[in-house]
């Protein structure tokens, strides 16, 4: 795997606040690389330093082996950017915006084709101000793809979108990768990072506290799966503790939580309950996720 982005000991301070505190990582060509962490963790500062929109205080950075601080326009030609906060003139129409932004680049994608792919064809004559939040976001993705970029930066792509629109965005991002582009995204939704990213860097207070594939991060925790159910007729002694897959059982009122890390936890417990003829309700399994990883690494919950 070739690294397309290299960051070494990046540091950036605003007045007295240390936004990014010496981080290093590389992004491989063709992957979806995610940066997750709470608001203020330093994600946007990092991404905007790489894009050349902000100057780092110290550290080395390169993208396509170019320096963002000195070769900004050459880099801009080859990357696509969706900013966390930006806008277009209120009265510009969707198709005008695409044609306008295409004219800023040497290499151009077909605007009509992009409109079609992002489901904006019917909106092409609408003014920017009349678009819904999701439509605006799709337009910004279209603008980020207008120069057929090699790397696409998506900063807080799905913030403020409803769950359905968010899922549609995930499909779009996978599409972008399918076309052979590298994707660098930031999000404060752990679920989004887990579902979408090949590799995830977890940021907290300007530092990378973990970096790996989502699966490896979760596995590294050694956190157990949980099986949760209620017993409407009260809890007799279940003797689930004796099952080899079960590590411990917690009971509070009629609610039971069974912990275990081995394969087959769910089926073993279910069989035991059936065999004993015990009524149970609302059974669900809870897998450890990136949220648990964050909690374990920082001692805090991620808040939305």
């Amino acid at each position: 795997m070739t690294s397309i982005i290299k960051v070494q000991d990046l540091r950036k301070t605003y007045d007295d606040v240390v936004a990014v505190d010496g981080i290093s990582f590389e992004v491989a060509e063709g992957e979806i690389f995610g940066m997750v962490g709470p608001n203020g963790a330093g994600k946007t500062t990092t991404i905007e330093c790489i894009e050349g929109l902000r100057n780092a205080d110290s550290g080395q950075m390169s993208i396509f082996d170019l320096d963002p601080q000195h070769d900004r326009s050459r880099i801009a030609e080859r990357i696509g950017i969706q900013l966390q906060q930006s806008a277009l003139p209120a009265r510009i129409r969707v198709s005008e915006a695409l044609v306008l932004f295409a004219s800023f680049y040497q290499r151009q994608a077909d605007p009509q084709e992009l409109l079609k792919r992002l489901g904006l064809t019917e909106k092409r004559s609408s003014a920017y101000a009349k678009l819904s939040g999701g439509q605006k976001q799709r337009l910004f993705i279209a603008l980020a793809l207008i120069n057929s970029p090699e790397v696409v930066f998506l900063d807080e792509l799905t913030t403020g979108l409803d769950p359905q629109a968010r899922r549609a965005m995930w499909d779009l991002v996978r599409d972008i990768r399918e076309q052979g582009r590298t994707v660098f995204l930031t999000t404060h939704y752990m679920e989004e990072a887990e579902r979408l990213c090949d590799r995830v860097a977890i940021l907290d207070h300007g530092r990378i506290v973990a970096l790996d594939t989502p699966e490896a991060l979760i596995r590294s925790l050694g956190v157990e799966s949980r099986l949760v159910f209620t017993l409407p007729n009260g809890s007799d002694d279940l003797s689930l503790q004796d099952l080899p897959q079960v590590s411990r059982v917690e009971t509070s009122g009629d609610r039971v939580v069974v912990y275990g890390s081995k394969e087959g936890l769910a089926s073993a417990v279910l069989n035991a309950l059936e065999d004993a003829g015990i009524d149970f309700q609302d059974l669900r399994t809870e897998q450890p996720n990136l949220e648990d990883v964050f909690l374990a690494l920082t001692g805090r919950e991620m808040r939305e």
Partner: protein, 247 residues
Amino acid sequence: MRGLIRLTITNLKLYIREPVSVFFTLAFAPLLVVLFGAMYGNDPSPLFGGYGSMDISMPAYTALILGSVGILGIPIQVGSLREQGVLRRYRTTPMNPLTYITADVITNLIMTLLGMILLVLVGWLLYSVQFEGQVLKVIGALILGGLSMFSFGYLIAGLAPGARAAQVIGMVIFYPMMFLSGAGIPLEIMPETVRKISDFLPLTYVVKLLRGLWFGGSWGEHLLEVAVLVGVLVLCGALTARFFRWE
């Protein structure tokens, strides 16, 4: 180059879709002709060197449009685009910032030129106003006056903290200047004190240059005006380069 042309075309479309700016650039000056024409008519007067009140209002109102576009329009325009994050979005592209400003200046010059044409058309239809100059020279004066007024506008946009502040600063500077520079009301009917003040207002020199060339004067006779306007342009341009912010 392609970006410059496309951005200029897009800016022109956006300009025309904005009712407030269309009113101030295209309709305001012709309305003044209708209003003040009804009050003063256009009879030749010794006070105005044998020209009528509307004759001399043509170059004066052209300067008025330049001033309002530069000092009222540009600061609001740039301030609100910056506040909304539009400028930030442009900055992510390979487009040179100079290309952006150039397209903006060309857009405003074209709109001012349209405003002047409409103004003269109304003046000519209603009062058969006189024109004794050369069209190209007048357009040259329009461009020079425009560049100096616009550079003043970009400087306000660069210094003002937000769109709202830019608007207020623009109004505080523009409205007194409109009355004291001869752009809105001829200086000939003003008391001596006002004429003294007018010497310190850049817009006065736009009025004098346009009026001189309008009635057959030459560039050589207006070196002072040219020098002042070039000075304003260079000073504001340099300060703008220093203080302009994209976000």
